[in-house]
Symmetry: C2
Subunit: 142 residues, 2 copies
DNA sequence: TTGATATCGGATTGAATTGGTCCTATTTAA
DNA sequence: TTAAATAGGACCAATTCAATCCGATATCAA
């Protein structure tokens, strides 16, 4: 249905929140309160994100998560791939075994790659900062 | 998971096939043979596509489906929207009732629209002909 | 008028994915 | 040693997808 998962949506919210104080160390509970996303879900996501190079985790009593880059160095593509894995608009692109490419009758022959890369390019061009914009200031003023 | 449905994939295959003989009238069975897509699935799709302005249906014994435009006037966006409906990367964009926009804590405030329109722009820029390319000639030569 | 050919509109079923939660281990600092 | 965190899965309900089939309707031709 060409839709991102809710988890990806949450991940953007969480990372955007963390980018407000980039050097701070956040715990799951911490982030949950700040973003109003349920704590178990936050925990699940931060665990997953820690496997990427977007955030770093520290275990133990003073542990937590730290952002590795600033908000303008994190693109939407980074977040999507960290949560959902590689971006493939159709099965054809990643699962060539069942793909019509192997069938002579298919008039496309794997041409979805054209669309796929065009989408990825766009997702790579938009950063967290782009998505946050000036609205946080407005919220603070309310 | 940012993936199109298989039906959308099939729809592109079907329309690409029809665009080879744009003025011809195709039946479901007809298209099924030409594309190697199962007939019931083809029938379902053509029914759905006939509700859009991409193809026109004719009932009765000499009935079938006819393409309304040439392959360079049909974009990927057209096909996706005909099969899946409007493009919304996240719930936030189309279902505002459950959306974080209503919560002051959300730092995004519906900024997914930025990404959404960027994607749609790309999908609107790529046509069926772009996806077919020169490969059909190659197939014929094999 | 009748019969053959197609589309039209829904219903249905199984499989896969997602969303959300919870539990037990492990690590670290005080 | 204890408290505070993350790590890694398991789990289940709900939704969506994939694929098919059926009865109704429309059209043309004999």
């Amino acid at each position: 249905m060409l839709r991102l998962t809710k988890l990806t949506d949450y991940a953007v919210v969480i990372l955007a929140q963390m980018s407000q104080e980039p050097s701070q160390r956040y715990t799951s509970a911490n982030v949950a309160v700040a973003t109003a996303v349920p704590e178990p879900t936050v925990a699940k996501l931060l665990k997953e994100l820690a496997k990427s190079d977007l955030i770093t985790s520290a275990r133990g009593s003073l542990g937590g998560y730290t952002l590795n880059r600033t908000g303008d160095a994190i693109t939407v593509r980074h977040v999507i791939e960290a949560v959902e894995g590689p971006i493939n608009l159709v099965q054809c692109v990643d699962d060539l075994s069942t793909c019509c490419v192997t069938q002579k009758k298919c008039p496309l022959r794997g041409r979805w790659g054209l669309v796929n890369t065009a989408i990825i390019d766009q997702l790579d061009r938009i950063t967290l900062n782009d998505m946050i914009g000036p609205t946080l200031v407005q919220i603070a003023a309310e």
